[in-house]
């Protein structure tokens, strides 16, 4: 075991290397490019056997990835943002082929306006594709999740592609101490790829991805995929148990952070959860009973576990680093649905939007969230999602508008 300072991108590349991925089709996009550059070096110097190939687009890249997996080779790919949505059609296709592969997405806000900072609208656009989704908070978790992802993807109960998400810049370009598992231990955790689905061989012709023209039959296959995605919970649990035994790190479908006896819970995903945890430490030292639920497995959505974990809370606030225009925060509605389905009704359930396009969520904004939740009452009536914004940021926006020649007649409130 080696402990090194690695970026999230390097950690993702190490995950693919330790998983002994043999095929990497690639297309560059910021802030993911370091992953494929690192892998290209390793294929070039022979430390990764197999083939690295550059494609003309993410759409082609993911088609090649799915086709190679359908032929029985362990495959890895990585993308971000525009690339993920450019490939979106193929995400649905390869999930429908029921082929295991791992795709890393480095989250970045979507155009227009085009930007570079992270938020989760890109990865959540892929939430209905049939891909299993794991969202990492740290660089260590990126590496570990890639290994776990192959165990889930190749599990006979699942046989589906898995997406591992990390936030652009905050993880992709941030160095953290990462334990790199030894290759033989990684091999003990993840054996060779033995396809459970039929693969292309001369002696056994197979038709894959064929048309289905009857609604009943289509429903059958789609529902079968739904059940297979649900099976990822059991596959993850089994893999995480082995992982903890071998490497000492434990992962759940969700992470409960100081939620024991908590009155107030924040729900978040991704690297910004680290900021929330810092706020929780501060609040706990003031005697306030608050914790964080981090969404790690996003598909399948661990509704029962979320509901059970939040069952004792008086107030729940979901901070979405995404925005579904006209609806609000995506996770807020998924959490609300999970709670309703499991008949868990926290008296206060509020929605906050923060961190779009990499905008910071400051400790002052976390304080505002907590104060809002603590002072709210069960029968306050409906509340819209609240966009988190600081005075400083607002002044900066007004400054930019003024520079652009836009007049602002009303004073900001």
């Amino acid at each position: 075991m080696v402990r090194q300072l690695l970026t999230g991108n390097a950690a993702a590349a190490w995950g693919a290397r330790l998983a002994r991925a043999e095929y990497v089709p690639a297309f560059p996009i910021t802030p993911q490019t370091e992953i494929i550059e690192t892998l290209a070096d390793w294929f070039a110097d022979g430390s990764m056997p197999g083939k690295f190939v550059t494609l003309d687009s993410e759409h082609s890249m993911l088609t090649a990835a799915g086709a190679a997996a359908a032929t029985g080779v362990r495959t890895f790919a990585a993308t971000s943002s525009q690339g993920l949505v450019y490939a979106l059609e193929v995400l649905y296709s390869v999930a429908g082929w029921r082929v295991p592969l791992v795709l890393v997405n480095v989250s970045r806000g979507l155009s227009a306006p085009i930007t570079l900072g992270p938020d989760h609208n890109d990865v959540l656009a892929a939430r209905d594709t049939g891909f299993v989704q794991l969202h990492a908070e740290t660089c260590q978790e990126v590496l570990d999740s890639v290994l776990l992802a192959y165990r889930i993807a190749e599990d006979a109960r699942v046989s589906l592609p898995v997406l591992v998400n990390l936030d652009g810049f905050f993880l992709s370009f941030t160095r953290e101490p990462v334990e790199i598992p030894e290759a033989d231990r990684a091999r003990e955790f993840l054996g060779d790829f033995t396809p459970v689905q039929p693969v292309f061989r001369a002696s056994r012709p197979v038709a894959q991805g064929v048309a289905v023209l009857e609604g009943g039959l289509y429903s059958y296959f789609r529902y079968q995929m739904h059940r297979a995605v649900q099976n990822a919970v059991a596959a993850h649990t089994a893999a995480a148990t082995d992982f903890e035994r071998l490497f000492g790190r434990r992962y759940g479908t969700i992470e409960s952070y100081r939620l024991d006896g908590a009155d107030v819970a924040l729900v978040m995903a991704g690297s910004f959860t680290t900021k929330a945890k810092a706020a929780v430490e501060r609040w706990r030292s003031q005697g306030r009973r608050v914790g964080v639920l981090r969404l790690r497995m996003v598909r399948p959505f661990p509704a029962a576990e979320i509901a059970a974990t939040l069952a004792g809370c008086r107030a729940v606030g979901v901070i979405d680093q995404n925005l579904s225009p006209g609806l609000g925060g995506i996770f807020f509605h998924e959490v609300a649905g999970a709670l309703a389905a499991h008949q868990v009704q926290p008296p206060v359930l509020r929605s906050f939007i923060g961190g779009l396009g990499g905008k910071d969520i400051s400790q002052a904004e976390f304080d505002h969230v907590l104060e809002t939740l603590e002072s709210a009452h069960a029968h306050d009536g409906p509340h819209e999602a609240e966009l988190l914004f600081t005075r400083t940021e607002w002044d900066q926006v007004r400054n930019r508008l003024a520079l652009a020649g836009k007049t602002w007649e009303r004073s900001a409130t």
């Binding site: 759409h59 082609s60 090649a64 990835a65 038709a207």
Partner: protein, 322 residues
């Protein structure tokens, strides 16, 4: 005038094996299906067909397939990238000793003109650029046939489609030249009418490593508007009028494999088709017909240095109108 045939002397010499069995949901008289059947006979059975969205996508409809070979439906735009993934995976398995040679497969992309000329062009350009060892068959019926015959960039001048607005100014993209500019290992235009020419080309390409691209004019009874029994005659007329040149390019060098001794006037090919009826009824549109004839004449007159089988000046049965 035709080039010397090296492998097949006559249709009787073609392989008797069939890998495309009778019974598919495709239209009667589909020229694309005949092309696939002929090409498959020569390629043999160890093939995985990587399909782009189009008419042929309905060949494999769960739980049926008329093919004895393997099949992977991808998307409309990325079949060539799918071929890349299959080929690369087979190579990885073979090179690491996990795929016995007899289990290896040839990879064949099967795509219509809508995919090939339009949204699939990027992934195919990139596959040719990488020198991918694969076969590509474009069944070109000159429109989006599967969805009701809408305009594609393969739709020729004056052909009526269900979305043609400016019939006279629409032009067919010269895909052969677009592909040739990539310097693929092998490139050919073929016709289901000339099975021996088609088989010869497949056989000549077989020994070449890299992209082996086939562009077939696929007669389309439903879209073009003719009785299916006339399909072969129309395919024949397309060649004999010079509208559809039969040629090949090895490492970029073009050779015509058949040049009619006497070119039939293109009206012979156009008039039987409903999509060109407006050129003949209620009045014969001489100006447009002359323009179209002139373009075909110019193609053949312009051949010379780039063709190893140098064509003679076209001998049309009528004098081109000026």
């Amino acid at each position: 005038m035709r080039v010397a045939r090296e492998h097949f002397k006559s249709p009787k010499g073609l392989p008797v094996e069939e890998y495309l069995t009778p019974g598919s949901p495709l239209c009667a008289g589909c020229g694309g299906l005949t092309t696939l059947r002929l090409m498959h006979k020569v390629l043999g059975e160890n093939v995985v067909i990587v399909n782009a969205a189009g008419c042929m996508t309905l060949l494999a409809t769960f739980p049926f397939t008329p093919l004895k070979s393997s099949w992977l439906y991808t998307t409309m735009a990325s079949a060539s990238a799918g071929a890349q993934g299959v080929r690369d995976a087979l190579d990885i398995l073979r090179d690491s000793g996990r795929l016995p040679p007899q289990e290896d497969l040839q990879v064949l992309v099967l795509a219509g003109d809508g995919s090939t000329y339009d949204m699939g062009l990027s992934s195919t350009s990139s596959a040719i650029h990488r020198g991918l060892d694969f076969w590509y068959l474009c069944y070109d019926n000159e429109a989006y046939g599967n969805t009701g015959f809408q305009l594609s960039s393969a739709s020729p001048e004056a052909s009526h489609t269900s979305t043609s607005i400016d019939l006279i100014h629409q032009r067919k993209k010269d895909l052969f030249e677009i592909w040739r500019a990539h310097h693929p290992a092998y490139l050919a235009s073929v016709s289901a009418h000339d099975a021996v020419d088609l088989a010869e080309k497949v056989e000549r390409a077989r020994s070449l490593r890299g992209p082996k691209l086939f562009l077939s004019l696929a007669v389309c009874p439903t879209g073009w508007g003719f009785d299916p029994e006339w399909g072969d005659e129309l395919a024949h007329l397309a060649v004999e009028t010079g509208v559809w040149p039969l040629k090949e390019a090895v490492a970029g060098v073009v050779r015509h494999t058949y040049i009619p001794n006497r070119f039939r006037p293109i009206a012979d090919y156009l008039e039987p088709q409903r999509r060109f009826r407006h050129l003949f009824q209620p009045h014969r549109n001489e100006a447009v017909l002359a323009q179209m004839q002139a373009e075909v004449d110019a193609y053949w007159a312009g051949l010379g240095t780039e063709s190893t089988l140098t064509p003679r000046a076209p001998e049309t049965e009528h004098a081109p109108r000026v």
